[in-house]
């Protein structure tokens, strides 16, 4: 089959590789119809995630049709149309039983290494690093789905791929970011980053009852898309964000703040230059420029929700601001599986049509150039969907 493979920092390539096969009894094989490039794929592309290996198959946002099931899979059959959550979860351990699927005890074959890095191992992930199991991803024609009886979620025929493919990651990720804010009537939510996760966080915050959502970015088309979702926008290159948020909230500050940027933040001023330098020289692994502002901006007693990905060590975090304002932190990879019935209902009710975020639909063969386009935010690129069956 054809698959997008990692060939070193800044270099993806479409290769012919062996087709995946069933390895374990709960596996299924999916023939992929849509697969996306995620912002977190860019962290791998840019070489900031350790333990990605030359030749690894990329991609963790994919859907398709079941073409083979393992001997223990009873709830799926060949021909079923499914989306596949990016978090691989067994459904049986303490964490899965408590709807914390991204913390699954059993899905990471490399748990010992993750434990050495983080204290305990989180779930395995598709198309990510070997610290998270090194599972082959879904930017390919086929993928093996481990624990497919828990992972694959069936999609009704009357919904399109474009409407449902984001159930794999960014829609639940934006939703969980908003849910983690514990929104009360009248709340203001401020969101750093108007990428796809930020866009879904904006819409989810309103669905969960926010009065006002303020979105912060610098890229015009992303800010336009945020305004289409009824957010007010601020440009961090032009506005004094902390002052502006105070004025928009009668001096109180936002009740909750969302860092939908993560480890490769852009920013301005001395802090940003410090981060670029220390990250480039490996003195810190992540660049928390956005997170610092997020902590400064949050009102007293507010909640900080972090869907943006961090991988390692960060520097000069204003812990005094967080501590003395009594902030609550909520974060982590998304618990995709338990959110799916609810989010599917929003789609079927017409409360949201997730396809709004797509700017590019291209054949799989064009993935390498689209990684660059997406990273550089060229050509108005916000979200790329790769179509293995589209003719190049």
């Amino acid at each position: 089959m054809r698959a997008v493979t990692f060939q070193g920092k800044g270099h993806m390539q479409v290769d012919t590789v062996p087709d995946p096969k069933i390895i374990n009894p709960r596996d299924s094989i999916v023939q992929i119809t849509s697969s996306c490039i995620c912002g977190s794929d860019l962290h791998l592309y840019d070489g900031y995630i350790p333990t990605v290996e030359h030749g690894d198959i990329m991609g963790h946002e994919f859907m398709g049709v079941i073409v083979e099931t393992g001997s223990a899979v009873k709830n799926l059959k060949v021909g079923d149309r499914v989306i596949v959550p990016f978090t691989i979860a067994c459904g049986e351990c303490y964490y899965c039983k408590h709807d914390l699927h991204s913390l699954c005890d059993n899905s990471n074959p490399n748990a010992v290494a993750a434990e050495a890095m983080y204290g305990y191992s989180p779930a395995g992930l598709f198309g990510y690093s070997h610290l998270f199991g090194g599972y082959a991803g879904g930017q390919a024609e086929y993928a093996r789905v481990p624990f497919s009886d828990v992972g694959c979620f069936k999609i009704p025929d009357d919904l399109t791929d474009d409407q449902t493919v984001f159930l794999t990651d960014i829609y639940p990720t934006g939703f969980m970011a908003a849910e983690n804010c514990d929104i009360k009537p009248g709340d203001t939510v401020a969101i750093w980053g108007c990428g796809p996760v930020g866009q879904f966080a904006i819409r989810s915050a309103y669905l969960l009852g926010a009065k006002q959502v303020v979105a912060i970015d610098r890229v015009p088309e992303r800010m336009d898309m945020a305004r289409q979702g009824n957010a007010e926008t601020l440009n961090y290159e032009e506005d004094d964000i902390i002052d502006a948020l105070k004025e928009m909230t009668g001096g109180r500050g936002p009740d909750s703040v969302i860092d939908a940027v993560g480890m490769e933040a852009h920013g301005t001023g001395v802090g940003f230059l410090y981060d670029r330098l220390t990250q480039a020289t490996m003195m810190q692994t992540d660049r928390p420029t956005a997170l610092r502002q997020v902590l400064q901006a949050c009102r007293k007693g507010g909640t900080v929700s972090i869907p943006g990905v961090y991988g390692g060590i960060i520097d000069k975090i204003p812990m005094g601001a967080a501590f003395n304002k009594g902030l609550t932190f909520k974060m982590g990879q998304t618990h995709v599986q338990p959110l799916l019935p609810k989010l599917m209902q929003y789609i079927q009710n017409g409360d949201i049509d997730p396809s709004f975020v797509i700017t590019h639909r291209v054949p799989l063969e064009r993935a390498p150039e689209m990684y660059k386009t997406f990273r550089e935010k060229e050509d108005g690129c916000i979200k790329v969907v790769l179509k293995p069956d589209m003719v190049a």
Partner: protein
């Protein structure tokens, strides 16, 4: 992570000073009877510890183990179970004259409500001088606790999910995988 040489709560080391000792615990969301039953039958061990090639039961309390070490080296020895309290503890040790003196025990106890049961595995090896000792040291690696933890986690996976998580056999764009593809076509 529990380190090698972590304190053993119930008994002192069988091989003081010269051996490698690892103590490692995991909590498993399965009935204690199922966990005990697995360890009560030593022929199950190769399923979760791939360095054990085979275990043949030779008597009421004895078994013959074959383990494989790096470099194609094999070592065989006889093991006796000297403690077996259902749903509490099983302890074994190699018999006199074994190339690799080794011992182990597995203890079971209930975790707090809704959390399953705790399994604590203790293993001890005395690497002999020479090739076998070197191969054993290589097998256990720089952090023997991590080596043993891997197998304890595979046991948990097997008990909780019915299979062990793996990527062995999946495709990649690395050259050996591509070669395989060319051969199969």
């Amino acid at each position: 992570m529990a380190q090698a040489q972590a304190q053993a709560p119930q008994e002192s080391s069988k091989y003081p000073e010269k051996g490698i000792k690892v103590v490692k615990s995991v909590t498993i969301n399965r009935p204690i009877e199922d966990l005990y039953a697995f360890w009560h039958d030593p022929t199950n061990y190769p399923a979760v510890m791939d360095y054990i090639q085979s275990v043949q039961v030779t008597g009421d309390k004895t078994a013959h183990w074959t383990i494989k070490l790096p470099g194609g080296i094999k070592s065989e020895f006889d093991v006796e179970v000297y403690t077996d309290v259902p749903n509490e503890v099983i302890s074994w040790r190699s018999l006199e004259g074994s190339e690799i003196q080794n011992a182990g025990s597995v203890r079971f106890k209930p975790a707090p409500p809704e959390r399953g049961n705790e399994v604590q595995l203790t293993v001890e090896f005395v690497p002999p001088a020479g090739a076998i000792g070197n191969a054993l040291t290589k097998l256990l690696g720089d952090v023997p606790a991590q080596y043993i933890a891997k197998y304890l986690y595979q046991f948990k996976q097997k008990m909780e999910t019915g299979e062990t998580a793996t990527i062995e056999g999946q495709p990649s764009g690395r050259s050996e995988a591509k070669k395989e593809e060319e051969v199969s076509q």
